[in-house]
Symmetry: C2
Subunit: 204 residues, 2 copies
DNA sequence: ATTAAGATAGCAATCAATTACTATCTTGGT
DNA sequence: ACCAAGATAGTAATTGATTGCTATCTTAAT
């Protein structure tokens, strides 16, 4: 019953998209490093060699995956920030948008925060570094804007607060990775954010 | 010139220690998954097969590594906490002891926080989960003690604050992994901790 | 002389990547 | 419309390198 379907011939662009999608899925289950081109091929009813009609090397696949993630994530974050009433509210909306994004794509943090980072590799590491430092700069910028509106004290170190912000996401991801699932992630996030928020607000 | 040195025969126990030490070092450079038994053997002027005179499987090596890390880290943390004057001070001392420990062994966070985490579910994962959840419980316990001394408000969610605490460490590690080295890690830690501390202190 | 550590060599499995070939789609000249 | 010619996606098989691990021999230390 299931033999005839999915035997179509697709354009290279469509196949590239499918490979990226499948790679993300598999990375969620087995971890990035243990996903083989054979796994990808199996997951899309294709032969292993066919993968290399669409990507020159396996590394190029992961590069494309990261680019895909970047575009998706940035789109979500930008939209969340644009709906905000003030800089602090923008940070809060971005945070929960990010948590929701992770809930939908559990593989993402693994891609960004773990293995590929210390892969002495050139392009991949640079790309991920760019995403994270760009994210950090965005948060720090919002905090500076909050300063000028006296929403946070002037003597707050924006960059350090941004580090804490990103760390909070990492901590929540790890927490939900060890214990519960999506539901727990959202719930934990709602309880953790106020502590961070209070940490950056007016000090003695 | 370099042929005759390091040709000693060692006891199995000594070799096990050296294998563990070398494994930690190599994991810092190349990442855990990409360290092969051949790499370890090369790093200690030994044959690859000789490794298996001292460990039955490669997995056993990583297990021993994690156990080694746990003992070292817990020892450092316990000592830091025992010198403290009050629960909040204990958390602060533990934090900076942890940061100093990481500065000395940059491979550790990678072992605990990244790759091995999403390694299906074996003994390794269980061991790491135990370390982290134990750590979290310890911080949460100190926060509860701080409540009874009115150092932090009663309505603080201890577990969420502990998640933020661990996330702060993760964020700092990633920050220093992307940018500077040890110096930057210590400096950043000193600027970030006060934000966390203010976050858990008395609220409006 | 006995024993345990290390050397040498090799196995079976797995991996990314390449090859030679086939099937299918696209296109341009008549 | 037609239909050969080229382009492109896919298959099947194989390559060369690497992996964890093992069987057998060699040597050093007690």
């Amino acid at each position: 019953m299931n033999q005839e379907i999915a035997k179509k011939r697709m354009s290279s662009e469509e196949r590239q998209d499918e490979i990226i999608r499948v790679a993300v899925e598999l990375a969620a289950d087995k971890g990035v490093d243990s996903v083989t081109t054979q796994d990808m091929a199996d997951a899309m009813n294709l032969t292993q060699g066919a993968i290399f009609r669409h990507f020159a090397t396996k590394n190029d696949i992961w590069f494309a995956v990261i680019v895909w993630v970047r575009e998706r994530l940035m789109k979500v974050l930008d939209k969340a920030a644009s709906d905000a009433t003030d800089p602090l509210n923008a940070i809060e909306r971005m945070f929960f948008a990010h948590i929701a994004f992770i809930s939908k794509h559990p593989a993402i943090p693994r891609l960004l925060f773990s293995e590929l980072l210390h892969k002495k590799n050139g392009k991949l590491r640079q790309l991920i570094e760019g995403i994270i430092s760009g994210y950090e700069a965005k948060v720090a910028g919002l905090l500076d804007a909050a300063k000028s509106q006296s929403l946070v004290p002037d003597n707050l170190d924006s960059q350090s607060a941004a580090v804490l912000y990103i760390g909070m996401i990492q901590g929540l991801v790890m927490q939900s990775s060890i214990f519960g699932g999506k539901r727990a992630l959202q719930q934990q996030a709602e309880k953790t954010f106020p502590i961070f928020l209070h940490g950056i607000k007016t000090r003695s």
